[in-house]
């Protein structure tokens, strides 16, 4: 078995762990505020209000 010491784990979580969460936040913010996505989001939010018309397939 690979020997992963306590210090290695702490090191990873304090470096990589921090940066991947920052990268993730940036990615989410970019996706959410990307101008092209706005119409898609608006349509999704409105579409659920008329949902009982039966399936398309």
């Amino acid at each position: 078995m690979i020997d992963v010491s306590h210090d290695t784990l702490v090191g990873i979580s304090k470096s990589y762990g921090l940066f991947y969460l920052i990268a993730l936040s940036i990615a989410v913010a970019v996706y959410v505020f990307w101008p092209r996505n706005k119409s898609k989001f608006d349509r999704a939010a409105k579409n659920i209000l008329n949902d009982e018309d039966g399936p398309w397939r």
Binding site: V28, F41, A44, I48, L49, G54, P55, W56, R57
Partner: protein, 552 residues
């Protein structure tokens, strides 16, 4: 039920239920000298019952192709009935154990009636029985409607629903007998856990297969929450239940982790069960039923996505706040504490998003108790997530941990948030599914609402008081440096609060029974009820027209 299955599906259903019955017999034979044998018989008779239902409907005419022009709602209907039955049962047991704490002599000297065995019957019955069935039912509804697609087959939803309830039955029948892994919210033993994995994988597959048939490429945000719920619960369940049975003919097993590793795995599981079972799943419910009931799109769709990723990635690290001041390394405790504090941001974003959606619809909140259930649920979601972040701070935790404050916090979430949002969703859903104008009695929905709210407030305030009193009594020192109160002093001081809590729980239970009656009468009452509450009908495009689904 059977008449909606095709011939082929009936054959498969037969094979499955007969195989499960055989497994039950094998368990009963192998575990004849062990409690496993009892569970073998329960599995056998459960599967025999399903086989009998299948046999009775076997020669029913097959469903025609016209079924493809309608959503498949039969399992949703069954899921709602099951959810409400579990709610009544598990809340009854909850109130029972509440009285048991006020009057400990109520055990009648029977081992099965002790607090330690009855309490998990309450928690499992509520979380998995009531919550789980409500999630299965609403999720089947939301996924079909938002994908605008019928489920791909008729058998797998039934397998998921019935299989899941078999798991719940095994769980709650095991505890009074003494079968438990002693892991919070993961008490069922290895064979029940393996069965749940099979059911859960089918659940995930069914969800993905339905989504794959969707009309729009974009998936509505409620489904993201539901999908996170199914996916993460699968991972949590498997990792936390890694255990070795002492033999294949015994119910008893031991976890493969030990000591603080086991504790950390358990609370990584435990807190994420709160996060992904009791939060993400029910947020999915909220993001669908609150806007549709209020007839307004969600205030900010963008914010709902940001909250989604926030909740998904932050909750994963919060579990260690359950292990403050233990053998767990200090930095892991601090990690859990910091992530718990950060969690306040996406939690309040969701609660605020829900409440802002109601701007412009407050008259509906006033008139429509169903929408009010969901509004108050969003408020309690905000309150209990704030409280959760607060209690996760280490020095605060030194006062609150091991006291009733934790119980108060859990119930602010479970009663105020989870149960109220579920009742709101079910009251919206029942008239739609059974094609009724409105619920049988809007007045009884009002009664249920006020009983539930009063019950929750009494419960939560009683536990806040008793928890803080307990915490303070345990840390009060005399001038000579000894503890001022014995443990028994603090137990005696709890007595009035325990009575108040049991009364609050009783009010909540009575509300639930009334709610079940109202739902039952809605189902049983013939279709044409004169409409007297204009806003209390399901959403359709054609305002004023009765709530028929044209395609059906």
């Amino acid at each position: 039920m059977v008449s909606t299955l095709t011939k082929n599906e009936r054959h498969f259903a037969f094979i499955i239920s007969v195989s499960v019955a055989m497994c039950g017999l094998v368990m009963a034979a192998a575990g004849r000298n062990d409690l496993l044998g009892t569970h073998g018989f329960i599995v056998f008779f459960f599967a025999l019952g399903v086989t009998f239902i299948l046999a009775r409907g076997y020669y029913d005419p097959e469903p025609g192709d016209e079924r493809f022009s309608a959503y498949y709602d039969e399992p949703i209907k069954a899921g709602i009935i099951l959810a409400m039955s579990w709610a009544v049962f598990a809340m009854f047991v909850g109130d029972w154990v509440a009285w048991l704490l006020a009057y400990p002599e109520l055990t009648f000297d029977e081992p099965w009636a002790s607090f330690g065995r009855l309490r998990p019957v309450h928690t499992t019955g509520i979380i998995f029985g009531f919550g789980g069935n409500a999630l299965i039912a609403t999720l089947f509804h939301v996924m079909q409607r938002t994908a605008r697609a019928r489920m791909p087959d008729q058998l797998s939803p039934w397998f998921v629903l019935i299989g899941y309830n078999l798991f719940c039955v095994l769980a709650v029948t095991g505890y009074p007998l003494g079968i438990t892994q002693s892991k919070e919210y993961a008490e069922p033993e290895w064979y029940a856990d393996i069965w749940l994995v099979i059911v859960w994988v089918t659940y995930l597959a069914l969800y993905l297969r339905t989504l794959a048939r969707r009309q729009e490429p974009h998936i509505y945000v409620a489904n993201w929450y539901f999908l996170a719920f199914i996916l993460v619960v699968a991972v949590l369940h498997i990792v936390n239940n890694l255990a070795l049975p002492i033999s294949l003919s015994s119910a008893k097993s031991f976890p493969i982790f030990s000591g603080v590793q086991d504790a950390m795995t358990q609370w990584w599981y435990g807190h994420n069960a709160v996060a992904f079972f009791l939060t993400a799943g029910f947020l999915g419910m909220m993001y669908y039923y609150l806007p549709t009931r209020a007839k307004r799109p969600i205030f900010s769709y963008r914010l709902s996505i940001i909250s989604f990723w926030g909740i998904t990635f932050l909750y994963m690290w919060a579990g260690s706040h359950h292990l403050h001041y233990t053998a767990l390394p200090q930095w892991v405790q601090t990690l859990g504490m910091s992530f718990s504090l950060m969690l306040l941001v996406p939690s309040w974003a969701s609660a605020g998003n829900a409440l802002l959606t109601l701007n412009g619809a407050w008259h509906r909140v006033r008139d429509d108790a169903t929408l009010r259930f969901m509004m108050v649920a969003a408020v309690f979601y905000g309150v209990s997530t704030f409280e959760g972040s607060f209690l996760a701070i280490r020095p605060v935790n030194s006062l609150s941990h091991y006291t009733d404050w934790t119980i108060g916090h859990v119930h602010a979430g479970a009663l105020g948030w989870v149960a109220l949002i579920t009742f709101g969703a079910i009251y919206s859903l029942v008239p739609i599914l059974w094609k009724r104008d409105r619920i049988y009695s809007p007045a009884l929905v009002e009664v249920h609402f006020w009983l539930a709210l009063a019950g929750t407030l009494i419960y939560v305030f009683a536990m806040w008081n008793s928890g803080i009193v307990q915490g303070l009594m345990w840390r009060t020192y005399t001038a000579s440096g000894t503890l001022a109160y014995s443990f028994m002093d603090s137990v005696v001081a709890m007595h009035p609060y325990y009575i108040a809590r049991a009364i609050g729980g009783l009010l909540f239970l009575v509300g639930t029974v009334i709610g079940f009656y109202n739902i039952w009468m809605t189902i049983r009452t013939p279709i044409n009820i004169p409409r007297d509450l204009a806003s209390d009908h399901p959403v359709t495009e054609h305002a004023g027209a009765p709530a028929a689904e044209p395609a059906e």
